[in-house]
């Protein structure tokens, strides 16, 4: 069966990826009251799932047509180029991060925190630390998503090839890798100890599933998604997850989760993309697709446009979000961190992300117009073209 690569970009993807980027930004500011709005407080999954799924979907969308038209090697080279760009972006963020903490910690001698000072040990031996960072083994807090993305893209040429050849086999292989990872505890080691916080062998499931959906899987699922049974199962599961998360926020309610259920359910593993998290994402996605059709008028409205445009330039906006979260934390601790400030910085950050997305969008448009070259495949640049 020839895979169908849709030709028109689905704005819903941009919208939700943009929103996911905002949520990731809000969650990355420590001690931020606005992060109460983010979905991780109301269910099992969080913005990372949305981001990885949509990234898989758009990667297949953009590079899938390239692979069909130009062949394995050209598309593969483009994917690897993208992985390289993300690697460079990650290292750039790492440098900013080091600069920030070196500054914040320079005046940190409080005897109360003698133990926490050890967190700076890595500044003392840059020879090891920087090499480990370049190898993606040393990853500071909140800088785990891009390395995951890099690994996923490195493997993507082969995955995409298989998806185009036989989508079902590719999906089954992905599920099998996920299952084997759970069975044997596979993961990539980290420095100074432990393993990757987002285990690529487990999280690939979402990415490949997203890609599979883009290459015709979504059409195959359409009938199931239209069924009211699916809808009610999804609603029931979301309500259940909401109830469970509520007991985390109010420990006094934890008696409401029966012991056997808690033993079976906890801990809900983020490192290895717990099935409960995956299912929670699926339920959210199923309801979203059901209630927000592809041609939903508000998608074109100016109110959703800020999120859409952020979602269209996801790599840049993601990096800026990580940087802005550092900066916001810096302002909060150096100057003032009250509730007003948290709200103000959160809003300012989202505005900046939007503003920068506008500039990038303008630049890319004027570049492609001014160069006089034939237009690049419209799906890879006009619509943001980010995988």
């Amino acid at each position: 069966m020839a895979p169908v690569v849709q030709t028109e970009r689905d704005l819903r993807l941009d919208l939700f990826r943009g929103i996911a980027l905002w949520l990731i930004f809000l969650d990355h500011i420590p001690n931020n009251i606005v992060s109460w709005l983010t979905i991780r407080n109301y269910g099992f999954s969080d913005a990372t799932e949305i981001f990885i799924f949509i990234s898989g979907y758009t990667a297949a969308f953009v590079y899938g047509s390239a692979m069909l038209q130009r062949g394995f090697f050209v598309a593969g080279a483009r994917i690897l180029k993208r992985a390289w760009q993300i690697y460079v972006a990650h290292i750039f963020l790492f440098v900013i991060y080091i600069a920030e903490i070196a500054y914040v910690m320079s005046s940190f001698e409080n005897p109360l925190y003698a133990e926490e000072m050890n967190a700076l040990d890595f500044l003392k031996n840059p020879d090891v630390t920087i090499i480990q960072a370049l190898l993606l083994k040393f990853k500071p807090a909140n800088m785990d998503v891009l390395p995951l993305y890099i690994v996923l893209l490195l493997l993507f040429p082969v995955v995409l090839w298989l998806l185009i050849r036989n989508a079902l086999i590719a999906l089954v292989a992905s599920v099998a890798l996920y299952a084997l990872t759970w069975e044997f505890g596979w993961n990539i080691p980290s420095y100074p100890s432990g393993h990757w916080y987002f285990n690529p062998f487990a999280w690939q499931l979402l990415f490949v599933f997203g890609a599979w959906c883009a290459l015709g899987g979504a059409t195959q699922l359409a009938a199931a998604l239209r069924s009211p049974i699916t809808m009610w199962i999804a609603i029931a599961y979301l309500v259940f997850a909401f109830g469970v998360t509520l007991t985390w926020h109010f420990p006094r309610l934890s008696y409401l989760v029966p012991r056997w259920l808690g033993e079976w359910m906890y801990p809900i593993d983020k490192v290895n993309l717990d099935v409960l998290r995956f299912a929670h994402f699926l339920a959210l996605a199923a309801l979203t697709i059901r209630f927000i059709p592809r041609n939903w008028p508000p998608l074109q409205s100016r109110w959703l446009w800020p999120a859409v445009i952020c979602g269209q330039h996801s790599l840049e906006i993601f990096c800026i979000g990580v940087f802005l979260a550092f900066a916001a934390h810096f302002v909060m601790v150096e100057f003032q961190g009250g509730v007003h400030m948290q709200v103000l910085l959160s809003l300012a950050g989202i505005f900046l992300m939007f503003g920068i997305a506008l500039v990038i969008s303008w630049y890319k448009r004027s570049e492609s117009r001014g160069s006089g070259k034939p237009k690049r495949p419209h799906d890879s640049d006009l619509a943001g073209g980010e995988a």
Binding site: L112, R252, V271
Partner: protein, 256 residues
């Protein structure tokens, strides 16, 4: 997870407004913590039994560097000593004894190896196990951390001791450097699963910071604030023990 601080914030804001209205916090109120942060449903039945049997309360604190203070007399101002003082004051009829076992720069797995010996040597009726900071710094596998804590608690209980788990300090400066969330969650889960009390130092200290009781961000070399924090940790820990071991009647009897 920052999840716990929502009500805390509301309370904190309320408290600040009250302070602004001219009610100055008294020193006794310095350590105030909303009840939901401190008290849970897990009981310390072995402690209750030991107290009823021979009027002694033998406590061992197994902890990292944040269970003490630097300097030659640091230990006497650190929370284990402050806990002992608070318990002796509130329960004068009991023989209270707090021993500390310091394991700086050790991950929970390493700490857990010493448990059998600790239980044999000290025969505590209560173990306070403070851990998590170093694991978060080293990036231990959250699953391994959780397993180590869980089996450690089991060993303590098999040795006849109750356990209170204590998580890391709240440290606003290192918040964006050390991701403590996964480890704080791990301790919370084990506490839930094994039905042992959790002293949520992270949330409690954040509450004090938000409420303006301690400026934990201050770049000071002075021990004064550190002493204040440890004193409050000792006092609130005493409240937790008295509540979870149902020793209020003893306390009231002593007051009369």
């Amino acid at each position: 997870m920052t999840a716990w601080s929502f009500i805390g914030r509301a309370v904190a804001i309320g408290a600040l407004v009250l302070c602004g209205a001219g009610m100055h916090a008294q020193s006794a109120g310095m350590c105030d913590v909303p009840g939901y942060l401190l008290f849970g449903d897990s009981l310390l039945q072995r402690v209750t039994a030991a107290v009823a049997k021979d009027k002694t309360l033998n406590i061992v604190v197994l902890g990292g560097a944040s269970s003490t203070l630097p300097g030659p007399d640091g230990a006497q101002f650190a929370y284990p000593a402050r806990l002992e003082a608070a318990l002796k004051r509130r329960l004068p009829d009991l023989q209270v004894n707090v021993t500390t076992e310091m394991k700086p720069r050790q991950q929970a797995v390493k700490m857990a190896e010493k448990i059998d010996k600790l239980v044999l040597d000290h025969k505590p009726s209560l173990m306070i196990w403070q851990t998590g900071s170093y694991d978060a710094m080293r990036g231990t596998d959250p699953g391994e951390f959780l397993a180590a804590i869980s089996s450690g608690v089991e060993k303590f209980q098999a040795g006849g001791a109750d356990v209170i788990l204590m998580n890391m300090q709240y440290s606003p400066r290192t918040e964006s450097i050390v991701a403590v969330g996964a480890y704080a969650d791990g301790l919370r889960w084990v506490a839930r699963e094994r039905e042992v009390p959790l002293f949520d130092r992270l949330a409690i200290m954040r509450h004090w910071y938000d409420a303006g009781q301690f400026n934990l961000y201050a770049p000071t070399k002075d021990l004064a604030m550190a002493k204040g924090v440890h004193d409050c940790v000792g006092r609130t820990l005493a409240s937790l023990i008295i509540d979870a071991a149902r020793l209020e009647t003893l306390e009231r009897a002593a007051q009369q």
